[in-house]
């Protein structure tokens, strides 16, 4: 056995040790071509970690009661010992800020430096979603701006008004992102049509001035263009641009919430990949250090224990089960991609002809850079992982008396499981699909939004009614919600100044008389 020259020993960490680990890990990471933003490691206490938790990890944030609620509940759970706090928290910024808890042992600090400062950090810098949608060097400044702006609004327009506006924006937060970028180019034909529509629209507005003058009966009701011409999925954007009587500062706040949500949207889309990537690299980097004799056997044992805890996946019938652990799935997949590259089996060659036997590091970097959870699983979930995790699918149909096992981990099931699991990570399928359908420009200015059901899955009525109140608060006129199954409306709600009512089955809402 070769002589070990460990970087540090013992379980208490010191600043010198943390620096030494960072330096060594940076050296090894470079060998694996991990391209990172500069690291900024901050040591914080447990209370500060709870602070960071409650502001969703933002280093600065505007004030809002919901963050206080988050803090109180974290504090309560932590005090009772229900939850432990995370060892680290990392912010997608440049420099990349990682919070390390002071309570961690030296081994844990090394683990989280490898995990956050090199794993997550390189993912933030390399993945296409982050590259497209986030600007790491500007986020902290933007958050600072948001905080100041909100504080100013509170001063000028009152804490209450500002807070209730934020409440409403938060309720629609998940509908403040652009899921699919629409192609910018449109055909000349469309363009002409739109131009025409715009003209008509202008004309109609002029006509509107004369509407109070009694017209002769024969004058037909002018054909009004539908507005918006196409359904809009970004509710907050639509409100920011089109809500009739929002004040400028209110629009700006809607925009702030929208921007911040959009910034964090890639993180929600890449949970499995991001955690898997970071877990894969802390495992690989620390093993490399071990191979070089820079860490001790005791270090490895402690590290492996934490690592094993992190990737523990309880079975579906375990009391600890709460969905598929993204660390487990992501780590297993990246590890398996490496295996497929280095030691492909016949099965792998059938399933992954492109990558079996290729250079593993190239393949891994390619996978990290160009996919999100949904497409990553669809592309790389191997039969071996499906077998290892014993994945199976169920169908719970309210028309059937029992739940059906639709697919299991056998030869016939691999592809189906892969597709269904990928769908499970498709955010736009997990949240109800809701779009702005129409504004009644001619009549009462009511806003109609439409829920398109998937597999007859309905909206949760109580929460939907509450959200509609918030939407009404922003729109200031009646809001209608239609839940559509295929082409027919199965539920209809109206929110006016007083309340939200379920009016399913009652005849004709004004929006329909066209």
């Amino acid at each position: 056995m070769s002589k070990r020259k460990p970087i540090a020993e013992g379980s208490e960490w010191s600043f010198k040790d943390v620096e030494a680990y960072e330096t060594e890990l940076a050296r090894v990471a470079e060998r694996y071509r991990l391209d990172t933003y500069p690291n900024q490691i901050e040591i914080i206490s447990a209370e500060q970690m709870m602070d960071a938790y409650s502001s969703t990890g933002m280093p600065v944030g505007y004030h809002h009661w919901s963050f206080g609620k988050q803090f109180l509940s974290t504090e309560q759970q932590y005090r009772r010992g229900h939850i432990g706090l995370a060892y680290e928290l990392v912010i997608n910024s440049n420099p990349c800020i990682s919070y390390l808890m002071e309570e961690n042992t030296l081994t844990l600090q090394a683990l989280v430096i490898a995990h956050a400062c090199f794993g997550h950090n390189s993912f933030f810098k390399g993945n296409y979603l982050f590259k497209t949608w986030t600007d790491a060097s500007a986020i902290v400044d933007y958050l600072l701006f948001a905080k100041k702006y909100v504080a100013e609004c509170e001063e000028r327009h009152g804490v209450e008004a500002t807070e209730s506006l934020l409440d409403s924006c938060h309720a629609l937060m998940n509908y403040g992102v652009d899921r699919f970028r629409r192609p910018a180019s449109i055909s000349a034909e469309d363009e002409t049509r739109r131009q025409h529509e715009r003209e008509e629209f202008l004309q109609a507005q002029v006509n509107d001035l004369w509407r109070t003058i009694p017209t002769k009966k024969k004058a037909k009701v002018e054909e009004w263009p539908k507005f918006p011409p196409e359904p809009q999925e970004n509710l907050l954007y639509f409100i920011e641009k089109n809500a009739p009587i929002l004040e400028p500062w209110e629009r700006e706040i809607v925009r702030i919430v929208r921007k911040i949500t959009q910034y964090f949207y890639p993180q929600r889309q890449t949970k499995v990949m991001n955690e898997g990537w970071a877990t894969f690299w802390h495992y690989t980097l620390l093993h490399t250090l071990y191979d070089e004799g820079l860490v001790t056997d005791g270090f490895m044992l402690e590290f492996l224990q934490s690592h094993t805890n992190v990737i523990y996946q309880p079975a579906f019938d375990s009391p600890h089960f709460s969905g598929i652990n993204p660390y487990t799935l992501g780590y297993a997949m990246f590890t398996d991609i490496r295996r497929i590259c280095e030691q492909p089996t016949d099965e792998d060659k059938r399933f992954f002809p492109d990558i079996a036997g290729s250079d593993w590091l190239d393949t891994l970097h390619h996978a990290m850079a160009n996919y999100k959870d949904e497409s990553f699983i669809l592309q790389f979930l191997s039969p071996k992982i499906i077998r290892d995790l014993k994945l199976f699918g169920i169908v719970d149909d309210d028309k059937e008396k029992e739940i059906e096992i639709s697919v299991i981990h056998d030869d016939n099931g691999y592809r189906q499981i892969r597709e269904e699991l990928a769908e499970q990570y498709n955010l736009s399928a997990q949240e109800p699909n809701i779009q702005v359908q129409e504004v009644d420009l001619r009549g009462d200015r009511s806003l109609t939004i439409r829920h398109l059901q998937h597999d007859r899955i309905p909206l949760d009525e109580d929460s939907a009614k509450e959200v509609m109140k918030h939407l009404h608060h922003l729109w200031h006129f009646d809001v209608h919600l239609e839940s559509m199954q295929e082409e027919s409306v199965t539920a209809r709600y109206i929110c006016d100044d007083d309340s939200t009512r379920n009016v399913t089955g009652e005849e004709t809402s004004p929006a329909e008389i066209v």
């Binding site: 600043f15 943390v18 620096e19 500069p38 690291n39 490691i41 040591i43 914080i44 209370e47 500060q48 709870m50 602070d51 409650s54 502001s55 009661w65 919901s66 963050f67 206080g68 609620k69 803090f71 109180l72 509940s73 309560q76 420099p95 919070y99 804490v159 807070e163 019938d317 709460s322 969905g323 598929i324 014993k390 994945l391 199976f392 169920i394 169908v395 719970d396 149909d397 309210d398 029992e402 096992i405 697919v407 299991i408 016939n412 499981i417 269904e420 499970q424 997990q430 949240e431 109800p432 829920h451 998937h454 597999d455 899955i457 309905p458 949760d460 009525e461 929460s463 509450e466 959200v467």
Partner: protein, 422 residues
């Protein structure tokens, strides 16, 4: 690669304090109800700490559009043991087959109460919110004996012991610069001229002239004193009257045979609340316990609440004793005096008018506030009628209420000290 390691532990850890306050303010109504409940449920001895507060979770929820149950839901799960494709299994009881994604935990299926901890301070704040001590200002500046010295800038005259060296030398330096400026400027120009002239021949006379002039100027410069009397500054102190911050609280209780331990416990709650409340307003509080049946005596707390006595009731004996103690130990212009009397309302029939006269004549003019609590669910008795007359005459510092069981205590206390709209 640039790398930074920062120790943030010394930074403030209460970054969320504002958000926490926002939350408390938003749910003020809920929290106040919970606090009032908690006060009544608590044992007598520990009113002085924080508590867990719970609010119905649906009231604090932040709504989002969510999928409901129903329709056709598909899901992939890990850990298959015995299932094969096509198996049918019964729906697990308690809810539908999962809620789609992994976000079920936040939607409030776990707990139906949102529980959190209030600190003691916050707890008391909520408890005494919108209560105030009446007549708090009356004694505040009266007490002429209490002064404290506070810094009041600097003066140019004073005791040597109060000389402020920094200010004095700063003044001196400014003076030296101001007085010497013109001379130094002259010296500078002369020296320049000297440098220019010294090299030229035939200018010896001028050189001499300049040199003597320079000497003269230098002498004048040296004559500016380093430190002048004028520069001296002394620390100045001024006297400020200090508001009286000490209060005395009199607890008067009937311990005659008709007062059961239960009634005493109710009274005790009231006294404790009053004590806590006073503590928030005054630095120092003396408490005097006077119990009485036909004779009054001053006792310690233990005896006050727990010893048993029997016999008739003469309320005026306690009032007389209080008056005497005030006169001897708590002169009214030095102390803020509060009194609370608890009784079941029984009194010797001839005694009530005496009580009225005592209160009107010598007690009420001296006290900040006098609260009478009658623990009695029956009819009004003579003492009550007598006190009603007083209340009409002293609406500001006399208050009376009836209590029938311990859950009334906090509301009654609340009524007694509610902020009166101005």
């Amino acid at each position: 690669m640039a790398f930074q390691l920062i120790d943030r532990r010394l930074n403030g850890k209460h970054k969320s304090a504002v958000n926490r306050q926002r939350f408390l303010r938003r749910y003020r109504k809920h929290i106040k109800e919970a606090v009032a409940d908690a006060v009544n449920k608590r044992s007598i001895t520990d009113t002085d700490r924080g508590d867990e507060i719970s609010i119905p979770r649906k009231d604090v929820s932040e709504p989002q559009f969510r999928h409901g149950h129903g329709g056709r839901q598909q899901r992939i799960l890990p850990g298959n043991k015995e299932f094969i494709t096509g198996d049918r299994i019964a729906r697990p009881s308690g809810g539908g087959g999962g809620s789609g994604g992994g976000n079920a935990s936040d939607s409030g299926e776990g707990m139906d109460e949102f529980v959190f901890e209030l600190s003691q301070q916050e707890f008391l704040d909520f408890m005494f919110e919108d209560l105030e001590l009446p007549n708090l200002t009356k004694k505040q500046l009266k007490d002429a004996d209490a002064y404290k010295l506070v810094r009041g800038g600097y003066t140019s005259e004073g005791l040597p012991a109060r000389l402020n060296i920094v200010q004095s030398l700063r003044g001196a330096q400014a003076r030296r610069i101001a007085l010497g400026g013109a001379i130094r400027r002259q010296i500078r120009t002369l020296k320049e001229e000297l440098d220019a002239v010294a090299l030229q021949a035939g200018c010896e006379a001028r050189v001499r002239e300049i040199k003597s002039e320079l000497e003269r100027l230098q002498r004048r410069l040296n004559q500016i004193p380093f430190l002048d009397d004028f520069d001296l500054r002394y620390n100045n102190f001024i006297q400020q009257p200090v508001p009286t911050s000490s209060a005395v609280m009199f607890c008067l209780m009937d311990v005659s045979g008709s007062m059961t331990q239960e009634i005493k416990n109710i009274a005790k709650r009231f006294f404790i609340l009053l004590h806590l409340f006073l503590k928030r307003n005054y630095k120092k509080i003396d408490v005097v316990f006077i119990r009485h049946h036909t004779i009054a005596s001053e006792v310690d707390e233990e005896e006050f609440f727990y010893s048993r006595e029997t016999g008739g009731t003469v309320v005026s004996s306690a009032l007389r004793m209080m008056e005497q103690i005030v006169r001897e130990r708590y002169p009214a212009n030095d102390w803020n005096i509060y009194a609370a009397q608890a009784s079941d309302g029984e009194n010797w029939s001839d005694d009530s008018p005496q009580c009225r006269d005592l209160l009107q004549g010598s007690i009420l003019p001296n006290v900040q506030h006098y609260a009478y609590v009658e623990i009695n669910s029956g009819n009004d008795q003579e003492l009550w009628h007598a006190y009603e007359e007083i209340q009409e005459k002293f609406p500001d510092n006399f208050a009376m209420k009836k209590v029938s069981d311990s859950s009334d205590i906090f509301p009654v206390f609340h009524d007694l000290f509610e902020k009166k709209s101005v």
